[in-house]
């Protein structure tokens, strides 16, 4: 039994667990003290002072996020004086913040806006100097706008503590403090993995994704091109949240219908190309095992992870699967296989990917992923951008009549669906590798060891008489930890899955901003989104990628065989070391 102590909050007595902060204790008994810089998954900053409370016997208000409770502590969370002080604090933050809510990206989703409302700020009492900095739009994925920054430091903490990228820090001091990369380097030249988690945790719009919706609208208005969309697994598991639906609702059919209403001629499913990825990747794994190739093989689907690896773990490049990601495989198939099928010049195809990700914007622009001199994916928009386009075009996603994806790149197995959750790629690959290696049906298709939100998961699967040892990491910090282990102990695993974002793609940097009473990275939310995908898997006719009839067809009609010549040309790639500035502890030169 954990030790219990007695405290008083707002004149009521409570018995709570010892060894926690005032804020945690208050949360546990139903007082949600207003807060801003605090995030339960990150270290305590105590920067914003919004969460101040009164403690009997203390001369000053204390920051409840950072102050531990003690037996007999008497706390007040909502006195007149506190309310005034909190209101002043938030007003002072607002004072150095642009007053452009109605044109701001985060309007309606901004924590500062909500807080200002909750504090009852009706008039402004302070008028002072405002900061003016250039907006950094150099990155393909992330836009940094210091003018909207309130210096809560969540981005700095997530970038170092969770993602282990260490790209951001506070520079200068006092009024001139700015969150920036080292040397105020343009974002495009930094170690930024483009994962977009800074966007997810930012309470305002100091970080937002690079918006490509206008490019897509322009493409959609053209009659001389064929407009094709593909939708990532995790998009369907989260897009409903942007329309007020509870988390975890599968909006697959609605999304397909809405994209067609937006003007796309064909809507394909990235889950199809996830199946394709698995067939290639499972074969690649078995080929490496058979021929004594480089092991452990590490997955390459996550775009943020690929950029991170090139910078911080270039010594493991030969371990990385040469398979392109499902998005890029789909892009390649659209511009070759499908173009041939509909007898279209691939130059007249505009291929748009709707992804839960910001890093895929970077991936889409990678020169090494070009297909016959063209980009496989011309534009990539996030779940948020897609939701905005749907709303902006006046399409009612919630009540729309659902439609199926288009053939021949729309049918998927359950293995393709679970790609969006951490462990999903591994599970999907195991299902296929097992059958190829043993020639037998896998007794239980659910690989429970690799499911769930534990940072690093390990497991072993017996395939006939061969034991395949696997590991899964999600979030780049966990990935770094796992790969340090691989450096030390290269024979420990055969196969490793890495996803750059906490929770996998369902927690991607392009997913809807969380609603009221929820926090970014919330495990409950990530679980619900993942559940939508596991339910999809459970109810699919085919649950193994290689059984997907359209996958069989594409090999028969076009690709030949897995790892064959055509596959190699269109579905595989190679990565190379990159040298931007920045150091990761233990990582070496980058």
């Amino acid at each position: 039994m954990p030790e219990k102590i007695k405290i008083t909050i707002n004149d009521k007595d409570y018995e709570v667990r010892a060894n926690q902060t005032i804020m945690q204790a208050a949360d546990s008994v139903g007082f949600k003290i207003p807060r801003l810089c605090y995030h339960p998954k990150l270290s305590i900053e105590g920067a914003c002072r919004v969460c101040i409370v009164e403690v009997e016997g203390m001369r000053n208000f204390v920051a409840s996020c950072a102050y531990p409770i003690y037996d007999g502590m008497k706390i007040r969370t909502n006195t007149d004086e506190l309310r005034r002080a909190r209101r002043d604090i938030v007003e002072l933050i607002l004072d150095n913040h642009p007053l452009d809510c109605h044109t701001c990206e985060r309007d309606g989703n901004c924590e500062l806006q909500r807080l200002a409302y909750a504090m009852g700020i009706k008039t402004r009492h302070f008028e002072g100097e405002k900061k003016h900095y250039d907006i950094d739009v150099s990155s393909t994925s992330v836009v940094r706008n210091p003018n909207k920054c309130i210096l809560c430091g969540r981005c700095v903490r997530i970038c170092s503590e969770v993602q282990a990228v260490h790209n951001l820090g506070f520079s200068h001091r006092g009024f001139k403090t700015v969150v920036m990369p080292a040397y105020n380097e343009a974002f495009s030249d930094t170690v930024c993995s483009t994962c977009g988690q800074c966007i997810n945790v930012c309470p305002t719009a100091a970080f937002v994704e690079k918006n490509y919706t206008q490019d897509v609208f322009e493409a959609l208005s053209r009659n001389d091109v064929i407009k094709i969309a593909q939708v990532a697994p995790s998009v369907r598991a989260a897009i409903g949240e942007d329309f007020g639906l509870p988390a975890g609702r599968n909006m697959e059919k609605e999304t397909a219908a809405a994209l067609r209403k937006l003007g796309f001629d064909y809507v394909f499913d990235t889950q199809f190309s996830a199946d394709l990825t698995i067939v290639e990747e499972a074969n690649e794994l078995l080929y490496r095992i058979k021929t004594g190739g480089k092991l452990p093989m590490i997955t390459s689907c996550s775009a943020a992870w690929m950029k991170y690896m090139e910078q911080f773990f270039p010594d493991l490049i030969d371990n990385i699967s040469t398979c392109k990601s499902p998005m890029s495989m789909m892009g390649a198939m659209i511009k070759t296989y499908f173009a041939e099928k509909i007898k279209a010049d691939p130059k007249n195809i505009v291929s748009v990917a709707v992804m839960c990700c910001t890093a895929k914007k970077y991936e889409a622009a990678r020169p090494e992923l070009m297909v016959n001199g063209m980009r496989g994916v011309d534009h990539m928009i996030t779940t948020r951008e897609a939701a905005w386009m749907i709303k902006s075009a006046g399409i009612d996603l919630v009540n729309i009549k659902g439609e199926e994806f288009d053939e021949p790149l729309g049918m998927s197995s359950g293995a393709g669906a679970i790609f969006g959750a951490t462990g999903g790629v591994m599970e999907a690959a195991i299902r296929t590798a097992y059958e190829i290696l043993t020639g037998k049906e896998m007794p239980d298709l659910d690989v429970k060891a690799v499911r769930g939100l534990k940072g690093i998961k390990e497991g072993a699967v017996m395939m006939g008489d061969k034991e395949i040892r696997v590991a899964v990491a999600h979030g780049l910090g966990n990935a770094a930890e796992l790969l340090q282990e691989v450096r030390k102990n290269p024979d420990k695993y055969h196969f490793i899955e890495v996803m750059g974002c906490p929770g996998g793609c369902v927690g991607g940097g392009g997913q809807p901003y969380v609603g009221l009473n929820c926090i970014p990275l919330d495990e409950g939310l990530l679980k619900k989104r993942a559940e939508a995908l596991y339910n999809l898997d459970k109810n699919k006719k085919y649950r193994k990628s290689h059984e997907n009839p359209d996958i069989k067809k594409i090999y028969k009609e076009f690709l030949g065989e897995p790892l064959g010549k055509k596959s190699h040309e269109l579905l595989h790639t190679h990565y190379k070391q990159h040298f931007p500035q920045g150091i990761i502890p233990g990582g070496g030169k980058c």
């Binding site: 170092s160 820090g169 520079s171 001091r173 990369p181 080292a182 150091i583 990761i584 030169k589």
Partner: protein, 162 residues
Amino acid sequence: MSKDNTPKIKELKEFISSVKKKEYGDSYLIAVLHKAQDLFGYVSREVMDEISLAMNIPTAHIWGVATFYHYFSLSPKGKHSVSVCMGTACYVKGADKVLQAIKDHLKIEVGQTTKDGLFTLQEARCLGACGLAPVVMIDDKIYGNVTEKNAVSILKEHIQPL
């Protein structure tokens, strides 16, 4: 970084390995930056990269510390440092006009260095010589009762004939 710096870099690295062994080695970052500034006269980006590698501290963090403290100079300093006191006493006695005169003469802003590399201009907060206000300090020498007119001639004292 020019090749002449190799011995200095070596000295800096030796200093880093000596402090790294100590408990809380990372906390010696400020001391290391001091050492770097002593050696090179300023903390360059290249030096911060070297420190990052040797100490295993992300550059974003080093950049944060180096920009936080005014003591650290991020660009090369001139041969002479000119500090104009902008403390209260000096200010009311016309330090702003003195500063303007110096800026006009040297054609630089505060924090910058003249093209010929002779002077770096700085503002100072009270040098503790309020009785002499307004005060200008050049290197470690204090000049009192400076006016717009004599400020320029004081500067000229430091220009040695070639």
